[in-house]
Amino acid sequence: MFQPASLKGDSPTPIDERVRNKYLILYLIIILLSFIPCSLFEYWYLITFWNESFYWLFFLLLPLNIFFLIYILQLSALLFSVLILNIINLIHRPREGFFKRDINDKDYLYWNLRNTIKKWPLYLAASNPFPWLKNRFMLRFFGVKIGSRCMCDNGWISSEFVSIGKNVIIGMGSTIISFGIEQDNFILKEIIVKENAAIGAKSVLLPGTIMKQNSKLSAHSYTNYDDVLEKDSIYMGHPAKLKKD
């Protein structure tokens, strides 16, 4: 909601520097391609409204022009990144498991590549001033399922191996990361959050966490790897433990 620009909550997509330097061209190509529909739209706007009888309309519709420009940029970036992502997923399917943190490991390499491709559209969605078509809409195209009536624009949500049910509340600045880096190991595991669960502000879900129906995680706490939060119960602490009254 009222976060400063440094905490806007874009999806965590870290990239290994060795991979980034190799595939920087791919990233730049997506940025360039995504600006083409924008320039076409601006060209159309200029041609239709810059007439002798329409000058006032040209200036009056400028706010709407900027509004559409932002969304056209975001959607075209999404389109091109999804296209390239599907091609890469055909070459190597993303799968969960334990891997080595080494660019010779194929899974780690392709995870970095996927992040390189996703970065631009997710960045755009997070820095958008308008509250529509944000996390819930964008992440759907990368395979994350988020249910309806979810509050999910204030936290950092990983862009793969996450599934979130209906009516879930995700707190301010909370983090849902489905990848973990432990020394030389690299872990990818699915996080499942079922219906009516609530995640407090600034809490962290580590890979493999399962939150069952109506489970609540208190603010400022984190779960361990492969934790299961039972239904209708409250968890809190570092790491989160069942709260008994």
Binding site: F2, P63, G171, G200, A219
Partner: protein
């Protein structure tokens, strides 16, 4: 009477604040249009001059028409437009906010989901959303504090509050208070299917450490310090000139003067030196034995 009821609220866990999307969210487009209109009205003359310099004809005849040096005003125009747009949006939405408050004055208490108070809370939040976003996007460090003041947050002078979430109502911050990176000041809390609204008041000379959460109903007295990585429970009271730490806050320590801390450091140094000497002796002894 209601305030007395509020003080007896007990919760099992601290969740978060936030709002759902409602049809009222379209207020953002209204704010955008009003800001745009102000820009057009302010720039009519300047656009006319530029158009004359480019083509030789005018939208509407003005005397005297522009000269070449009007081009030098373009950077000033761009910067001025950014500030003009943001401040018109801030002022207009403050007006809308006042109107909403007049229609239904905000109250403290516990409210069900879907009640009138819930509805109006969402409306107030969505009116405050875009101006605060703008105030934090423009390159003026005091803009967001001014913006918060418009929306009923009482912020004193010389307050540091740039890098955190602050709810736009029922918050009071005294003079010379410092807040650090990534703090959350909540005056609303979503609890199961209810929303709890309670006033947060932070006194003068307070320091709020990084990564902390201040829950609704917290009272920080003058000079209280909240340590890093800790959070307060609902309705907690942090007493004056003490350092408070814990998740939730459970410990408090006195603040040391400079001389006291120096003395402590010197004492520690002496003990460390003594320990080191002892260690050396032991090593020598051990070596001799071997």
């Amino acid at each position: 009477m209601e305030a007395e009821k509020d003080s007896s609220i007990k919760v099992d866990y601290i969740s978060t604040t936030g709002v759902f999307k409602t049809p009222f969210t379209l207020i953002l487009l209204v704010q955008l249009f009003i800001g745009g209109l102000a820009l057009v009205l302010a720039n009519l003359w300047f656009f006319n001059v530029l158009y004359y310099l480019l083509t030789g004809s005018q939208f509407y005849s003005l005397e005297p028409p522009g000269d070449w040096y009007y081009w030098l005003l373009v950077p000033l125009n761009i910067y001025g437009n950014i500030f003009l747009f943001s401040f018109t949006v801030i002022l207009v939405s403050a007006g809308i906010y006042k109107f909403l408050n007049w229609r239904h004055p905000p109250q403290e208490g516990v409210f069900e989901r879907g009640s009138k108070e819930w509805k109006y809370m969402h409306r107030r939040y969505w009116t405050a959303y875009f101006p605060i976003w703008l105030a934090r996007a423009i390159p003026l460090p005091w803009a967001d504090i001014v913006c918060y003041r418009f929306f009923g947050v009482r912020i004193g002078k010389n307050v540091v509050a740039y890098e955190g979430y602050i709810d736009p109502e029922f918050v009071e911050i005294g003079d010379f208070t410092m807040t650090s990176l990534h703090i959350c000041i909540f005056s609303h809390l979503i609890y199961h299917d209810k929303v709890i609204i309670k006033k947060v008041s932070i006194g003068k000379n307070c320091i709020i450490g990084p990564q902390t959460i201040i829950s609704p109903g917290t009272v920080m007295e003058e000079g209280a310090i909240l340590g890093a990585n800790s959070y307060t429970w609902l309705g907690q009271r942090l007493s004056t000139y003490l350092i408070h730490v814990g998740t939730p806050v459970s410990m408090s320590f006195p603040i040391q003067t400079l001389d006291e801390s120096r003395e402590k450091v010197e004492k520690r140094k002496k003990t460390v030196v003594l320990d080191d000497e002892n260690l050396d002796d032991k090593k020598k002894e051990g070596g001799g034995n071997e």
